[in-house]
């Protein structure tokens, strides 16, 4: 996931796979004990990992919604970002245990498709949350943030805040080829009104959405171009890492840091002025909409379809004219994590 997409290296993955399969089995096993006949309707939630606050919140939202709709929630997660095998195992186990629908944030948008097709062939409603599959119609429906728009909002904000001053931009990105990272990056440039090859982009570095790596990347960027005055960050941990690096150079007041996510720690950092603005997304809403769709499907057999934008809001206490935003009081009320 965008927030903490730490890439574990291969040998750890080998170890992690085993553990992930065990976890998935355990999670589904406990769900299966409820019995597939005569019990409550079951809905499955499979997140990318179960350690990221974003997914913790998503699971909370799903539990709450399941309770309200009288459904039973079974959940599972990959062991690490990118763990496709663990998610496939979880899907198979959930289908066996007789779930009516599966909500999934795919770790691998392409590799998960065959497993999802098998589930749908057995009549299970499949909804992607947060990230689309590739192709998108491999799931019945998608409830997610528009990541291009999320980037665009902070791009527009940064442009307005610079008020015509000459920009030297650093982008602290996610990882090569990960859709959310690419979409937010492109959205930011679109909002700021510069092309990818613009000379004002003086440094671009991957951070994996990790605070320590964000700090190192920012330190090196400042070494390369000490005049950086705008920093785009993939998420708030990366932004806070950048802030630490800027503060060490006494630049924290002079450089504009913008970000995406709207986690509670990140929103607090906006309130404290460490981050100028962030685009907030709503994992809880994704989950509750997903659970309700499964409940409706169980009731009348009608499947949800298409893409539902779960919304994104610019959060800042230093609003710029011409850019719609909410303040951090609103942000803290609606933050996750």
């Amino acid at each position: 996931m965008p927030r903490n997409n730490r890439v574990l290296t291969t040998s750890v993955r080998v170890a992690a796979c085993t553990a992930a399969a065990t976890l998935a089995l355990a999670a589904c096993g406990s769900g299966a004990q409820g019995g597939s006949d005569g019990g409550r309707v079951k809905v499955g939630l499979i997140t990318k990992t179960d350690t990221n606050p974003f997914f913790v919140k998503m699971k909370e939202g799903a539990e709450q919604a399941a309770k309200e709709s009288g459904l039973e929630l079974v959940s599972a997660a990959g062991k690490f970002d990118g763990d496709n095998a663990g998610q496939v195992t979880a899907i198979e186990n959930m289908v066996n245990s007789g779930v009516k629908g599966i909500l999934i944030t795919p770790n691998d948008s392409k590799a998960i498709v065959p497993a999802l097709e098998k589930a749908r062939a057995k009549g299970v409603l499949v909804i992607a949350l947060d990230s689309p599959t590739d192709p998108q119609d491999a799931t019945d429906a998608l409830y997610a943030t528009d990541n291009v728009k999320a980037g665009e909002l902070i791009g527009q904000y940064a442009k307005a805040a610079m008020a015509g001053r000459k920009a030297q931009i650093a982008t602290l990105d996610l990882a090569p080829g990960v859709a959310v990272g690419v979409q937010r990056h492109e959205g930011f440039l679109k909002g700021f009104g510069v092309p990818e090859t613009d000379p004002s982009i003086v440094c671009s570095q991957d951070t994996g959405g990790d605070q320590a790596k964000g700090q190192t990347a920012m330190e090196n960027c400042l070494q390369k171009a000490p005049g950086i005055n705008v920093v785009y960050t993939i998420n708030e941990p990366a932004a806070l890492g950048a802030y630490t690096a800027l503060k060490a150079k006494g630049l924290e007041k002079k450089v504009l840091v913008v970000s995406v996510d709207g986690g509670c720690t990140g929103t607090k950092a906006v309130k404290e002025g460490k981050i100028a603005a962030t685009s907030q997304q709503y994992p809880l809403k994704m989950a509750s909409l997903g659970v309700k769709a499964v409940a409706d499907f169980a009731e009348d057999g009608k499947k949800a379809s298409g893409y539902t934008d779960t919304g994104v809001t610019l959060i800042t206490d230093r609003a710029q004219t011409g850019v719609d935003a909410e303040d951090t009081a609103y942000g803290l009320e609606n933050c996750w994590g």
Binding site: T9, V12, V56, F80, P176, Q211, A212, A217, Q223
Partner: protein
């Protein structure tokens, strides 16, 4: 005994400098110098005191972990749990201090004890059962990882009291900004370099790595020595935990996930043999710097991160190849 075949024992009474440039450290040192030359010529910003002090700051956490890793690899073991143990230690330090349960100093002490405890447990399992270090530390990796996430409730700990971040503060020195933490790391490297090369404990560590059986027959209490090495490594991870907290200014449950492999990379690049009994902790320092120099230099050149990973991978394979070839020659 077997230990007399190690390069260190062949050099009787050499100075530290001579030891540093003797095999197996000469290769890595040459690689480091060449890399520095290359980046000095290709980028304007590389060659400056400020940039070098920055590189040292950036590698101090993995560098400290790599000290413990070197000790264990010298015994022909391996520690996959070091990054996770450090992460748990850092969360323990950050949480207990931030919520006022303990004074900052007591929190740091607790972090050291917790990490040392993990090391002790690793050592006991490796020695007493006995189990292969790879398996023990793989298990411990998962245990420490899980405990970190359970204890932190997935929350990053912020608003740390000042003493916890003190080692991350910098002081100016001739146009550079040195962090106090970098000095701690360098002091640890020097202390362990001395202990390994100039004390009987150090000679016993090499002997154990060369052949546990002959070490035992020569009167070394190998069981106690092994457990001691793992415990000591754990304590060093505790120092790394404090350095991590002080550098980032937060307690981050997601930290350190790839640091186990990064520390092994540094040890291997530094010329220490994965087969045990051969290598040096100062080599590891050079290995850590090689990784740091490449990452920094390539970024200054504007090369994408993924190529940094690619190049590090190639360097590791080259380093092991050199080790193998020189082993064959030594026979």
């Amino acid at each position: 005994m077997t230990a007399t075949t190690t390069p260190y024992d062949q050099l009787r009474g050499p100075t530290t400098v001579r030891r540093l440039i003797s095999a197996p450290t000469a290769g890595p040192l040459a690689a480091l110098v060449l890399a520095c030359l290359f980046f000095s010529l290709t980028t304007e910003q590389f060659l400056s005191g400020g940039n070098f002090s920055l590189i040292v700051q950036q590698v101090m956490v993995v560098g400290t972990l790599a000290i413990g890793q070197t000790l264990i690899i010298l015994t022909a073991g391996i520690d996959l749990s070091c990054g996770a143990v450090m992460a748990f230690g850092s969360i323990v330090i950050a949480r207990t201090a931030a919520d006022g349960t303990l004074s900052p100093l007591a929190a740091i002490a607790l972090g050291l004890v917790v990490c040392g405890g993990f090391g002790l447990l690793n050592g006991l399992l490796v020695q007493m059962i006995p189990l292969p270090p790879f398996i023990v530390t793989l298990g411990m990796l998962n245990v420490a990882f899980a405990l970190t996430h359970i204890y932190s409730a997935e929350q990053t700990v912020t608003d740390l009291p000042a003493p916890l971040t003190a080692l991350g503060e910098t002081f100016p020195l001739g146009g550079t900004d040195i962090t106090y933490g970098s000095l701690v790391t360098i002091a640890l490297f020097l202390a362990f370099a001395y202990a390994l090369s100039s004390t009987s404990w150090g000679r016993h560590v090499y002997a154990l790595g060369n052949s546990p059986e002959s070490a035992r027959l020569n009167g070394i209490r190998t069981s106690r020595l092994t457990i001691g090495i793992y415990t000591l490594a754990g304590l060093v991870y505790g120092v790394a935990a404090l350095l991590l907290v002080s550098r980032t200014g937060v307690g981050d449950p997601q930290a350190g996930q790839t640091d186990n492999l990064d520390s092994i990379t540094a040890v291997v690049l530094g010329g220490t043999s994965l087969f045990g009994g051969r290598g040096a902790v100062l080599g590891t320092f050079i290995g850590v710097l090689i990784v740091g120099v490449f990452r920094n230099g390539l970024q200054l050149m504007g090369v994408a991160s993924i190529y940094q990973t690619l190049i590090t991978g190639i360097l590791v394979i080259l380093a092991v190849t050199v080790d193998q070839i020189s082993r064959k020659k030594a026979r």
